[in-house]
């Protein structure tokens, strides 16, 4: 057996031959650390030692491996709602575990901008967030690393009563992206909102595993994925709404909109709804295929060529995630960063 990690596991699994039950990650032998922690420091945040024990979307094997490789968790101290923009540039194989605590009633706005100056390298960024009663954490992520770069983006959030976590992700560039997300909605009335936009072309791929676990009453989760695939691009999205006993009154919604622009693409969608409680509402909707002819006709009737219309729709897959970034500065930052795409 190789030393590959089994991450992004589907729980419960389904038919093996569909190859969606997990992702096998070859992790580099040595990993430099503090790339991300330093970027937060540069952005003006304080850092301290300290760890959080929070489950993530990628799962236990990754967390254990990071520990084994001696990656020391760093706590990031952010005082107020002022946007913290962390520009993380990878110049080699690196890994970080970042812990963030939002105190009661606090609002945090965080932006991570991932680039790579080294190709053929891998970066692992694990972000663990504890959101205390009534706090709101807005995390925006922009990934525009190199075509040969592997980026593992792994998030775990625990939400107390009335806390909210809003995640906007824009996966514009980067060769291989493995993205995990786990929200533990353990506080009454807490909520998770995810908007992910992605474009995959030239054999790029993304493997996503998002779990919204509702354990407390009246919790809410909304998860939206929009994307465009072309030129050998591929995507696997696992989205699990997990209604655990005791979450009466919980609501979970998942929606996916994928544009397939040629027949070299692979799009896999695995939207689970697990339900162990009676009084809940869960829903999932997916729409996958080429753009509707009516839509193209409408755009062309205003003078836009077919090619241009497709381009606009491709970028719209990213924009729909951008438009949900609540902090204006963060929104402008991401918006102008992807302008040329």
């Amino acid at each position: 057996m190789s030393g590959n990690l089994i991450i992004n596991s589907l729980v419960p699994p389904t038919w093996n031959r569909l190859k969606v039950n997990e992702y096998e990650l070859p992790l580099p032998g040595t990993l430099q650390q503090d790339t991300a922690a330093d970027a937060f420091k540069t952005a003006g945040a304080g850092t301290a030692e300290g760890s959080l024990h929070i489950q993530t979307g990628c799962g236990k094997e990754l967390s254990d491996a990071l520990k084994e490789k001696g990656i020391i968790p760093k706590q990031i101290l952010i005082k107020g709602p002022e946007l913290v923009t962390s520009k993380i540039d990878y110049s080699g194989d690196a890994a970080d575990v970042i812990c963030i605590k939002a105190e009661e009633g606090q609002t945090l706005n965080i932006l991570t901008d991932i680039t790579s100056s080294a190709d053929k390298a891998a970066g692992v960024l694990q972000i663990l967030i504890e959101a205390a009663k009534g706090s709101v954490v807005n995390l925006s992520q922009l990934v525009r690393a190199g075509r040969d770069f592997t980026f593992v983006n792994d998030i775990g959030v625990v939400l107390e009563d009335g806390a909210g976590f809003n995640l906007s992700q824009v996966f514009a560039e980067g060769g291989r992206i493995i993205s995990g997300y786990m929200a533990l909605l353990s506080g009454e009335g807490s909520s998770s909102n995810v908007h992910a936009g992605l474009v995959r072309k030239a054999s790029q791929f993304i493997d996503m595993n998002y779990v919204m676990r509702h354990t407390a009453p009246s919790t809410r989760s909304e998860t939206y994925v929009s994307g465009a695939l072309m030129e050998g691009g591929s995507k696997t999205f696992r989205g699990t709404i997990d209604f655990v006993k005791g979450c009466a009154g919980a609501e979970g919604a998942e929606n996916e909109n994928m544009l397939l622009l040629d027949d070299t693409v692979i799009n896999k969608t695995v939207p689970l709804i697990l339900c162990d409680e009676e009084n809940v509402a869960g829903s999932h909707g997916a729409s996958i295929g080429r753009p509707a002819e009516d839509m193209l006709y409408y755009m062309m009737s205003r003078g836009i060529t077919r090619e241009r219309a497709l381009k606009i729709l491709e970028k719209a897959s990213l924009d729909s995630a951008v438009s949900y970034i609540s902090d204006e500065k963060a929104r402008e930052y991401v918006s102008s960063a992807i302008e040329g795409i």
């Binding site: 936009g197 929009s226 909109n257 509707a292 002819e293 009516d294 839509m295 006709y297 409408y298 755009m299 062309m300 009737s301 205003r302 003078g303 836009i304 060529t305 077919r306 241009r308 606009i312 729709l313 719209a316 897959s317 990213l318 924009d319 729909s320 438009s323």
Partner: protein
Amino acid sequence: MSKETLTIEKLCVRIGEKEILKGLDLKVCEGETHVIMGPNGAGKSTLGNTLMGKSEYEVTSGKITFMGEDLLAMSTDERARKGLFMSFQNPVEVPGVRLSEFVRNTCEAMGEKMSLWNFKKAAGEQMKVLGMDKTYLDRELNVGFSGGEKKKAEIFQLLMLKPKLAILDETDSGLDVDAVRTVSEGVKAYQEQTGGSLIIITHSTRILESLKVDRVHVIADGTIVCEGDSSLVDEINENGFEKYIGK
């Protein structure tokens, strides 16, 4: 006589096996406003979509000349760039594309490169005509728009694109009195600002009240069965279409 903008000769159109337009003739000159009326299923919307070049509408015979060129030889976007515009009866929702971004793209397609600042200024002026809030620009194109909002957004695009000929396909249907008045103001502004021609497809008359109408055509069963000046509007208003159907 003024210059001909659009000439339709003996146009026959079908969708699948069904023949809808059966030898229709129509001529629209520069700056003229034509009204097309007729009962449901007469072929009014087919005419609009055929002019715009929707793929299901198959032209089996006939000729359409627009600005001196063969319209049928052009793709939909070429027609638009030549100066043809249609306000859709049910504009589609395009998620993720903001109204501002879309209209900027269309203006660019028309050859009008504008800086973001100039674009916002021009857009703001036209939106004022329609009583639209500037926040519309940041909304996703037609997504979640009410019927009235969609129609206003269409007329906003009409004002931004300044076409030579605009087809308004049932732009007034489903709108309340105030919204019809606003849309009507917008259409008037288009006439004044550009001197462009109009084909207004409607089966009510409210939108016409404040506009100067040059010619009225009644379509029934795929052809024009009656033509007249604006007084025909009042006549139809009173007596309906019965006398034109089944002849």
